[in-house]
Amino acid sequence: MVSYVLRNEVEREHRSGVNCMQYDPLMNRLYSGGRDSIVRIWNLNSMNDPYVLSMEHHTDWVNDTVLCCGGRTLISASSDTTVKVWNAHKGFCMSTLRTHKDYVKALAYAKDKEHVASGGLDRQIFLWDVNTLTALTATNNTVTTSSFNGQKDSIYSLAMNPSGTVLISGSTEKVLRVWDPRTCAKIMKLKGHTDNVKSVIVNKDATQVMVVEPTEVHSELQRPRVGCLGPLCQRFIHSVLFRREDCRIFQTDPRFPESSILVCNTDSPVLRMELGADQEELWVATVKSDLKCWDIKESIHRKSGDYETISSGPLLSRPKETIKGGSSIRQLSILNDKRHILTLDSDQNVALWDAVTATQVKDLGKVDFQDEVKKRFKMVYVPNWFTVDLKIGTRQIVFLPGCRPRRSALESQTNQKQRTRSKLIQAGLGLQAASLEPGTLLSFCGQLNKNSFHQNNLPNELWRVGFESLLEHWPNAHSYDPDSVIPRTENGIDTKTDDIKVSFGSSNPSTPPEHRRHDTLIVKGNRYFSMPGHTPVIFGEAGGRTLFRFLCRDAGGESERLLLKDSVPAWVLDVAVDNQVPKFNKITFFLQPYVQPGNKSVKKDKLSANDMLQIKKVQEHVYKNFMGQSDSSISGSSTLSRRSSEPSEKGEEDQTEIAMEKVELLCQDQVLEPNSDLRTVKHFIWKSAADLELHYRSKVQNGTSVNDSDEKSNSSWRTAFSR
């Protein structure tokens, strides 16, 4: 699985909900880990512009973070199944722990021992010694960890006391399991919960545990209870405790659980609370990207006796500070050309993106999303070659592995011609590649200038072009252009000269020998455009686990080069390095003379062609074969494409035009557009899995003459296509 992310170069704002926060009192900094996969550092001393830097390395939601070693080290857990250790001050990733097999949901920290426990949906808990983790180097990178066995369900919450004597895990099993981290032994199980334990905290000497579970509608009858969803924030476990009830934040004294104060209302469900400076500030993160700070100085000094007098309104009406967040994409639609994407973000802005170049085409502002989608509908059918994942609040393009070419596709020894051909396909970017047989090469080149990149309606090879630009900085993927006939074309894409001469010593050994030519131009990427250098590229397993993430521009770096070599899937190599083209899909269809509905047509000739064959080519075929044109030259050929390839390209084009004037094709009684292709017709007009049926008739509405010629040509048609 290969994916890349469409984004801005610097993402200063959280794009989606914020799952976790850590406050560093020494530096007065706030670390926030978001669903946009980025951990951001905020400097709370300068609230005008608090952004310090982004720590980007995760590829999925960051679920939990802990700050250890007096604020020097940050450990983060993510849904990309990894736990990462960061240098918190400088913001780089020191190491990645890949022991978990599923989302890592929770971390717990024992301050006195500098131990961190991580637990996830893979039902595993691992205990890490932070000092070992920070001492890891490239050579000494083995970590020993303790694991806890016996957990039966996905872990959603973990808590450890500062001295590291007790570890508590909350899971969907609806029990709390208590462990001794020193021996990794089970101590006990606390039963009685009715739902998933979403949040748990433990006091210093591990005598009390506080737990949150979401109330469930269907269990209300048996157990009416105060509903608390989501996280707890501990102040002193004996005095004040904050909890969230959906969009409200309460302050409760655990000794008098009935007396709670409504501290404030938030606009969306709370994901995390963190105590800020002097424990008089409460930072609140919600499913929206803003971070808000509430001044709780006043509320915590209330005595328990005051509780009864509290009115129903919230104590605080307005947050003290807000760190503004950005918008996240909530909805998207891949347009029919399978290239452009329309997105709708949480601010109701609509934007148009180009998946191939990984750039934003146009910001459409606040317009109706569905209208825009309809407006941009094109009658064109292109198979899916990517999906878009919105999980990190921005667009992540995922290549569909189903599109990958089979290795055997083009390994024949007529390689040279085909290589040229594939180059041309690549160059034409969506010209009717299917009609490209060796004989038509020149005509194809001729068309190249006429049809600009953006007008082409069928970018069949988009995904491969995409690959080439994704890996354009990777020397192994540089291709060699034996003929260098095609200049870098116009198409609005800069003609940055990155054709460089390289000696061949270090080049990819997998390149077939006949392609190894010294002193040829080395072409980077796909000649047309390059991806923005900041585009993150992610190689992952089919199940979604990330194998390797790098920025597009870094692919040429020393270590990346090596890592890439190990992690690039073979099918990507085929495309990006060996320039292989996938097999074209064949489509079978029937071609019949048009008859008035009611009369039954007897003859049915079954034909097969590439599914990208344009209707005008079929028209030409009909013209040549059924409209009295000479057909001696083509008898014996058995496929449409070969037939069309035989005449000289000039004459062919003329013929096509004549044919387009004289013949029209119908499917389901609908006249077909000459420029659409067979798969589009099948998808939009035929709408059935059965073989396509096309009817032809003369455009001159002289029914008798057409029928006559039909009869005449019928015999030659038969001989041409029967074996």
Binding site: S154, T172, D246, S688
Partner: protein, 643 residues
Amino acid sequence: MKSDVCHTTTTEDGKQRSKTGLTQDGEPKLPLQPYVGFYNIGNTCYLNSVLQALRYCPDFVTVLANVLEVGEKWLNEKSREVVQIDGKDPANGNQEADKEEIDNISRILQLLKEMHKVFEFMRDKEDNFIQMPSPDTDMAVNPELVLEALRTVNPMFEGYLQHDAQELLCSLLSSLEEVRERISKDMSCGKKDAMNNNICEVVCRTPTTSKTEGSLKGGCSPSMNKSQKRGVESPSAARKHLSYGPPSGDLTVRNSTVAGVSNEKGDGQRSKEFRRKSMRNKQLECEHPKRGENTHDMKLEKKKSLGIKRLYKLTNQPTIFSKLNILKKKKQHIPPSSPLGDINKEGDCIGDVKSSDEMEPGLQSPSRDTTMSGAPVVILQHQGISQSLFQGSLVLRTKCMECENYTERCEEFQDISVPVHRLKKEEEDLELNQIEPPTESNDSCDVTLSQGSLDWALSEFTLGERLTDTNKYFCDSCLHLTEAERFLLFDDLPDVMVVHLKRFSALSHTFSPGGSIPKLNDVMVTPLSIRMERWCTKACQQRMDTYQLMSVVSHTGSSSSSGHYLSYVRVPKLKAVCTQDSKSRESPQPVDQYEWVLFDDDQVSALSEQEFESCINQLSESQELFDTPYLLFYSRVTTEKND
């Protein structure tokens, strides 16, 4: 195919009967009980027992009569129409399908008629007996006519083989439902003046029109085996029957069909899934647009098949449900903060059907079946036939573990199939729990239900699955694959709730050499009354329904291929017999007005409550043959009556 391997003869039955002892005790008693039994005309105990149970269902006979009345009027009207069309326009493509449909409906009506006749006849007989008790009276009737009619409706009952009582029940109920729906649909199409005057406007709760069924009959792959074909012939039979519980490899015929379907799709579907969905999917998949038919239908079909195909490509989610989710676009997002609010505010497509939801208070799941949302259906109904005794609805709720939002889908059911046997894995789990340190038991307030109670079985039934690991759920609110929990809640409980105990389910290693399906004889305590609140949605909870055990069809014998069906029915005592139908439930009769009667084909005996309980709960150790409850009929007791 269980039915193929049944070879028990009547003589065997006789032996078994004598061994139960109960009947023999009853037999010598004179005068005879004033209840009419059915003769066994060759392995028809399945029919006899189910008919007896149905006969004493409150209102069943009334409903039957109503449906018959309206149905026959409809049939006359319709056949006249067809004849007219026949004369006018021979090129009408609909005609054949119409004829077929009429044939089908008339066959069903014939069956209902026979049933009604027999019931009437039995009642008359009982009345006569009460007036003139005589030991010489022949107190049993021959169910032959019913059987014959049944065979024309459902050919699987041909021959004198043994059959599964539950299959029969499903077949009967779904036939009844088919007629109801078909007629309702037509009435909605502005033909009410053609019908009689006492049609009142009732919005039906069954949005599934038989039009869908008609189109489902389209075609199926030739590779389908006989049982699958049967499923196609009466799709509603399979559709109305839900099967939940652990994937124990239930081998009733329909279940295996579904298993085949899931295997074909090869994407890890669970047997817990709604059978109906898989059936329908399957049928749609193999459907081929028929040419030369009504063009509108053709387009509709095409749309469907395309839709399904696209669906398979697009979805990452492996279960059928999620596929349908995408197809239907009927997902509901209900934030936890407002579980009751605005759920019904759905847009377009189900149209008027939806108003029924809105009319009902509180939480009603809107996700009615809208697969064939092509034509919004307002259903005008005859008072009598709008009432569906056995049909309730279930809500399948999928809750995201991340944000606690959930989506719902509604399903109708006519009986509930619950497991009787705990899976091996769970047993192991139990053992593990037991050997854990004793400290735990001190803290524990274990609420787990002991196996072998109906409560446990219902919990198993409603507990769906957890979508984890590689089968995560795509939450539309998180826009992320998350873990999710899926469970069932009763949304609307029927007046008569039929609980089917999955006794004939086999784990792969327990196949007996003869190929018959062994029976699970696990003891399942049958409570005389049950409350359903804990498995209900909020709206349903508020009704505080209590259900009273009304009849039990039980099976004696050790496997599917041998044995005998009996039915225990709670009937109003002697003098109440003549008012048994509708009046008995309404009139506040004291409880001792009822008694339990054991119908064993033509043998009828009355039991005291204690005797009855010891029979069905297998309290007496001495019983050699396993007389185990198989189908439980619970009828709703209104709350006032309860206290």
